[in-house]
Amino acid sequence: MVVTAERTPLYEEHVHLGAQMMIFGGWVMPLQYSSIREEHRAVREAVGLFDLSHMGELRVKDESLAQQVVTRDLTRLRPGRIQYAMLCNEAGGIIDDVLAYAVAEGGYLMVVNAGNQDGDFDWIRAHSARTSPSPAAGGQGGGSVLNVGRDWSLIGVQGPRAVGLVQRLTASELGGVKYYAFIEGKVADVACVISRTGYTGEDGFELFCGNEDAVRLWRALLEEGQADGIRPAGLGARDTLRLEAGMRLHGNDIDASTNPLEAGLDWTLSLDKDFIGRDAIAQARQRGLSRVLVGFKMLDRSIPRHGYAVVDNGQRVGTVTSGNVSFTLGYNIGMAYVPPTLAEPGTRFGVDVRGTAAPAEVVALPFYKRPHPK
């Protein structure tokens, strides 16, 4: 069997821009165009443009099904608003982290991680058979969840100049679109869902459009953004940006072996409603946690990496899940699972870097907050 990585509609654009490509979640994506450092800086200081078309989108029309599979109570989410939530298994492990968009026609659009989109779809569909047994409610669950990720492209416009840039290309009034809200409108004459969300710690938008319009929208944003100092930014910068913002990466910081309590994602849980994994999570809370995810900074110049051991008094006590240089802060940072006794900000432990216990100190998440949050 030959496994071929999928390409987004913007693949040729990346190649023309000289991107170094990588395979991520089964997709060929730009790792960097020029330099991760420069792309990171552009997003913090001006504006960066991201191809996020590898992300998955699942249309879950059945509200009770959506309520069953996500950890958060969506009933109070008004159309046009967005919430971050977990998709858990029966043991409370995190199958994926998702953004749920409340759609005016009813139900939700779930934006899910690229490598999980087909697994998430199968998982939700399997449960739709249970929650919607009657043909009137969608037969075998056939119509209650649709995997539409490959029909849509997604372009991120992130940074302090992102809102102004997108505003110049649309007649829609963007000032009223709050953080974690969305509208439908035209950007550069392309029909889009304009979503004030992101994975960088900066203000900005994520624009969903049909695949056939992706190149046109991408080029229009790049051209109009020249005056703002726009740079196309790859997954390398996306990772260093989200780490500074303390955002978890599924597959690195959270996965099916970790639960939302350990991951510090309590705020995504509505334990007073029924959802898959609720009982296991409630029991885990009762028992108390054996490990929690913390942010830390290195006190020397060594760089923590995913999988490195956390050591205390010569013993392995935890594991680094993400780590890198923080270009914005000027020191090296990471996230790790450690025993709750080592979780207080100011606590010191070691990170085993090639056999040496490099000193690190727990700091509150996020590492970086943008200066003037909306």
């Binding site: 330099s35 060594s302 240089v325």
Partner: protein, 128 residues
């Protein structure tokens, strides 16, 4: 194109430029482009004896940590202190201010490649 005719390359992508029995060592243009933004180097101490092919240190980019190997046998006489605060020199000028270490008492290593042979080797790698 600057003249790199005096350089010899290891298949592990370090270069060496000999001057009598001393030598300067760095990493190749191809290696820096593959690593991407260099953010940290772990370098040997002065006086350390290195054999050809022995690990001399670690270079870390945003993407990953990689081992560096000495292309020749010799004793470390100097390490590039500027790289502590400016690891990006390795990206900007790998054959100049991005040099990594200097060695003395250097022995020749006949296995090293000249620029043409190295370029051919790299093309073979990129195509694989």
């Amino acid at each position: 194109m600057p003249d790199h005719s005096g350089l010899r390359f290891a298949e592990t992508h370090e270069w060496v430029k000999k001057d009598g029995d001393s030598a300067i060592v760095g990493i190749s243009e191809y290696a820096q482009s593959q690593l991407g933004d260099v953010i940290y180097l772990e370098l040997p101490t002065i006086g350390q004896q290195l054999d050809a092919g022995a690990r001399l240190g670690v270079i870390e980019s945003v993407k990953a940590a990689s081992d560096l190997y000495s292309p020749v046998t010799g004793e470390v006489s100097e390490v590039n202190q500027d790289l502590k605060d400016h690891p990006e020199y390795v990206n900007e000028d790998p054959y100049g201010k991005g040099w990594v270490i200097k060695l003395r008492g250097v022995k020749d290593n006949p296995k090293l490649l000249d620029q043409n042979a190295y370029d051919t080797f790299v093309q073979g790698q990129a195509g694989s």
